[in-house]
Structures are given as C-alpha cells and as structure tokens.
C-alpha cells in the first residue's frame, strides 16, 4: 500500500459538499474524519467509493489506491474494486442489511459477484469463518436481519466488509445508532479485524471521543472543507485551527465539571457560505484577511496541517 490521495470537488447542483479535500493514508493507518452535520464528511466517504448519486457528481480530483487512479477506472473495474480493495461499513442506522435475505446469502452474493464461485460447502465454511472473526455465533448465518440486535447487525456488516480482505475500510459512523457499551464492542471488533488484515481504516463520524480513542490521525471538516489534519494526540493537546480548539472545548468530560462551553453562532449552510474562511463569522480571532481570502491547507508543523491565516 503506497498512498491514497484524495483531491476533488463535488458540486451538488450549486452546492459544494466537499471542496479541494486532500489527504493521504498509509497502510495500516487509522484515519479519522470528524465533522458536524452538513460538513460533507459522508459525501467524502461515498466519493472515495465513487458512489455519489445524481444530482451530485465528482467534478475534479484523483483518488489513488496502490498506483491506480480510481476516478479513471471504468464502471465495471470500479465495481470490482469495491469490497475487494475498498470496503464500506455503513452507518449504524440498522437498515443496511436486506430484510428478506438470510445473513449467509448476503455474504455469499458478494463472494459470487466478485468472481469467486466456490462450492456451496466452501461458501458455508467461509461464512462461518467470517462470522466467527467478528464474534458472531455460526447460527447467525441462517438468520434474517430482524432477528439480530443492533450490535449484531453491525458486526454482520463488518463481516461482509472484510469478506474479500480489502486494503482500505471506510467506516461511516458505524456506531451512531448503538449504545455505548455495544459501540465499544463493535469498535474493538473493527480494530481487531483491521489488525488481522493489515488494512487501513477511514473512520468518518461526529464523535470526538470515539476519534480520540480510535484513530491515529484526525482530519477535521468544516463546511465541506478539510480545515485541519494532525496526529490525534496533537489535536487534543495543541489544536492548530480555532474551530478545532473551540470544538474540543465544547465537549463535556467526565473529569471536570462545568468546563465546557459552546461555539456561538451557527453552522453555515453549504448553499450559503460566507466569503473567505467559512468559519470567520464564529471565530473570535478573525481578521480582515479571513473575511476576504479563503485559507489553504498548509503544513504548519511536522505532520500538522491546517487551513488558517493566523498560523
């Protein structure tokens, strides 16, 4: 695994959901992408898989995986890449499994459509193996989704995602609908299968706590732009961007009481962005330049990138 470089713009009609986002991902790395609602983080996940639906579209940019530009592939070649090389773990909205198919059939059709057509015995064997690797009992293979709990469904989704040993796993808010206890179990499962496969993980979400505990490096999105990318420890000790700093300050903790405070102002709408830096109306340090000129993502300290004029 060499480099994954994403760099693209996606106008949804007149709306730019993600603008000039670029980053690289190393083999075996866990990268987090965090953002509040409307920050374009889910668009990013779908864009890497080339699954942006009209009226959205990818206008420019490149996604490199092991020396291949995914955006230049044919539709059929891209289909082969999905799951086999880049797999998605969908949002934990409990609705990602086909309600009328048994779990084993939902794994089997993925194997079959990727040219693996082994015997029924082999399929059963592989399904059992996969379920076991995510901590599910073999009986689950013959069950329907409605017979599983939320955590079990999400584990089944992980089993599907790793069925072809992908290089990159994109997890889009995988635990957003789960209770904390189950969330921890699911994330531990994800961490373990990732280690076994040696795959990289892109975790997309809004929960800073989950990011702090799970990822190696964290990208922060605001209004469709990546405004900071740093190793996760640095972000929490010395954030570079004022938004990151205020976001962290707004999080309640279990350590100390009464220390958190919100960010005043509103999250801007993507169709109505302020000129210059999108954060300037809420930024306490904003200067004239912030109102006029949009900052670019620059390396401010080793491995620490931020898009802010003040740095």
């Amino acid at each position: 695994m060499r480099n994954l470089l994403v760099h693209y713009g996606t106008p949804l009609g007149a709306v730019t959901a993600a603008d000039s986002v670029s980053f690289s991902l190393r083999a075996g790395e866990r990268l987090g992408v965090v953002g509040e609602s409307g920050s374009g983080k889910s668009t990013l996940a779908l864009a890497i898989l080339r699954m942006i639906k009209p009226p959205g579209r990818i206008d420019a940019g490149e996604v490199w995986l092991d020396g291949v530009n995914l955006l230049a592939l044919s539709d059929e070649a891209m289909r082969q890449v999905r799951l086999a090389r880049i797999a998605l773990i969908p949002q934990g909205s409990m609705n990602s499994l086909n309600p009328v198919m048994r779990i084993k059939d939902q794994i089997a059709d993925a194997l079959r459509d990727h040219g693996l057509a082994p015997s029924r015995r082999q399929v059963e064997e592989r399904v059992r193996e996969l379920l076991e690797s995510v901590g599910l009992r073999p009986e689950v293979a013959d069950m329907f989704p409605h017979e599983l709990s939320g955590g079990m469904k999400q584990r089944a989704c992980i089993a599907i995602a790793i069925s072809l040993r992908p290089r990159v796993i994109i997890a889009d808010e995988p635990t957003s609908a789960l209770d904390v206890v189950v969330q921890k179990q699911v994330m531990e499962t994800l961490a373990r299968v990732q280690k076994d496969l040696g795959a990289s993980v892109i975790l997309v979400g809004h929960d800073m706590g989950l990011m702090a505990q799970f990822v190696d490096r964290l990208g922060v999105m605001y209004a469709g732009r990546l405004i900071e990318v740093s190793p996760v420890r640095d972000i929490f000790t010395q954030p570079l961007h004022p938004y990151t700093e205020m976001l962290i300050a707004s999080l309640p903790s279990l350590e100390q009481k009464g220390t958190f405070r919100g960010i005043p102002g509103l999250i801007p709408l993507l169709r109505d962005l302020p000129p210059g830096c999108a954060f300037h109306p809420r930024c306490p340090h904003a200067v004239d330049r912030c109102r006029a000129e949009e900052p670019r993502l620059r390396e401010i300290r080793p491995a620490g990138w931020a898009a802010c004029h003040l740095r």
Binding site: M51, M101, D109
Partner: protein, 334 residues
Amino acid sequence: MRADYLARRVGVFVLIVWLAATLNFFLPRLSGQDPVRATLLQQASLGGHVQTGLEAMVKEYERRFGLDRPLWKQYVTYLRDVSRFDFNYSISSYPRTVNSIIAEAIPWTVGLLGITTVLSFTIGTLLGALLAWPGAPRWMRLLMPPLWALHAIPFFLLGLILMYLLAFRMQLLPMFGGYTAGAFPGLTLTFVGDVIAHSILPALSIVLVATGGWALGMRGMMVTTQGEDYVTFAEAKGLRRLTIFLRYCVRNAILPQTTALALALGNILSGAVLVEVIFGYPGVGTILFHAIRENDHFLIQGIVFTVIVALGVATLILDVLYPLLDPRISYRRT
C-alpha cells in the same frame, strides 16, 4: 407465531363469509316486506309455462321461511342452507337449481379472471420494475403516459371500444359469447381455439386497464426501495447491477404489490362482471345480469355469496403464502 397468524387469518375468512351470508339474508327483508316472496307471487300470478313449478316453489318457500315463523328461526334455516351451498331453485329457469347454473358459469369466469389477473400483475410489476431501473431503454419511458391513461378507464368502456374496433369494424375477432353458437363443446382442438378466440377481447380489456395500475404501484415502490440503506450498502459491496436490481430492489419492492393483490382482486372482479355482460361471455357476470333483469332473487343471492366466498378463499391463500415472501411477517402485528 405462525400458527397464530394462520388461525387469525382463517377466523377473518369465516367472519367475512358469515357477514356476507347475513347481509344476503337481512338486506332484502329490511324494506319491511319480503321481496323474494313478492317476486315469487308476482311471477306466479303472471302465469305461464312454469306455473305449476312456481306454485311448488312458493309452497316450499313458505314452508322454510314462512312469515309466521320467528325471524331468527328463518335465519338459522337460511344459514344451514347456505353452509351446504343450497340456494334453492332458480326462479327464472325452474326447475334448474341455482347451484347447477352457477357451477356451469364458474369455470368461464375463473378462467378469464385467473389468467387476466396473473397476466396483468406479472406484466405490470415487471414493467414497473424496469421503468425504475436506470439501465432501462428510453422507449420504455414513453409507455408510461398511455398506461396511466388506460388505467383510468373502466374495464367495460375499454371493452366497448375494443369490441367496436376489432370485432365490429375489422372483424378480426368474434364479438359475443364464450364460443361460437352451435359449436359442440368438448376438448377438441377447434373448440379450444374457438374459446380462446372468444376470450381474447374480454381478456384484453381487463389486462390493458389493470396492467397500468400494477406498473404504477411497482414503479413507486422501486423508487422508495432504491433509496434504502441496504441498496447503498449492496452497491458498496461491489455487487453486479443485476444482482442489486433483482435481489435487493425488486425482491423488496414486490412485497407491497403482493399485499395489494389481495385487495385488488375484489375490484378486478367487480369490473370483470361488467366486461362479461358487454361481451355476453357465459360467466358468472352475465348470469348475474340476466338474474337481475328477471328478478331471480335466489340466483342473485347464490352468485353474490359464491363469489364472496371464492374471493375470500383467494385472499386467504395469498395471505397464507405471504410469510414465505416476507420473513418478518410472522413477527409483525397487523
């Protein structure tokens, strides 16, 4: 759970049949006098070739449902008869029994309705599914407006138009009846061919109208299904477009279609009755038409009751089979 479901469903069926029978019994008596009796007496007083039979019928009717007997006793007698499918004699064609007349007509109606329902459901559902598929050819989209328009027209009106154009003007197909008058009914090739030729027009007028409805419903469901998370995930699994289309979209979108089928049967049947009348097709609808014209109350009651029971059975079968399509059903409460 499944036994519960079955028991509840059969219970509903019995309830429907009982209600239909009760309605059949009480409605004619609501007007104060007994219209059945009135008709019988009127027919008897008119005289004619069947007078002796009619007098016997009046006597028989008096014996069973005599007004001197309390209403509930009449009702019990009636329920007993109905449960044995005994609907008495036909008033207009005495001494034939209502049963024998209905039995003769039923194969025609079941054949026509069964085939047209299956055809229109299959074609419509398929068409609706294809219409929602991004890979569908463009000409298909042009089918939509005519289908919509046809869907809005009552079956029998389309029947009239088709009959005028194809049978009367172009003389392509026979106009009336189930087979050519004078033909010898039997399992010969010519007779079967004759029957098919006669059924094309009535069948066409039902299929053309009904297909649009199924197509519309299926297209709507497909659009909904395509927005579901499991379809997005299926795409992320790198499945072939055909796999996603068939096993994820169509498979789920067809579920509400099937539930709708049970409800639609009643409407199709109501429409088919009129189609039969227009084409003089020897099915239940035409018999009903004649029965109404001749005030043959026993025959009317017998037909209505039989049809409601038959429809009840059809929907019962559909409902019992439905859990095979949708694994969630045995858990869901209705």
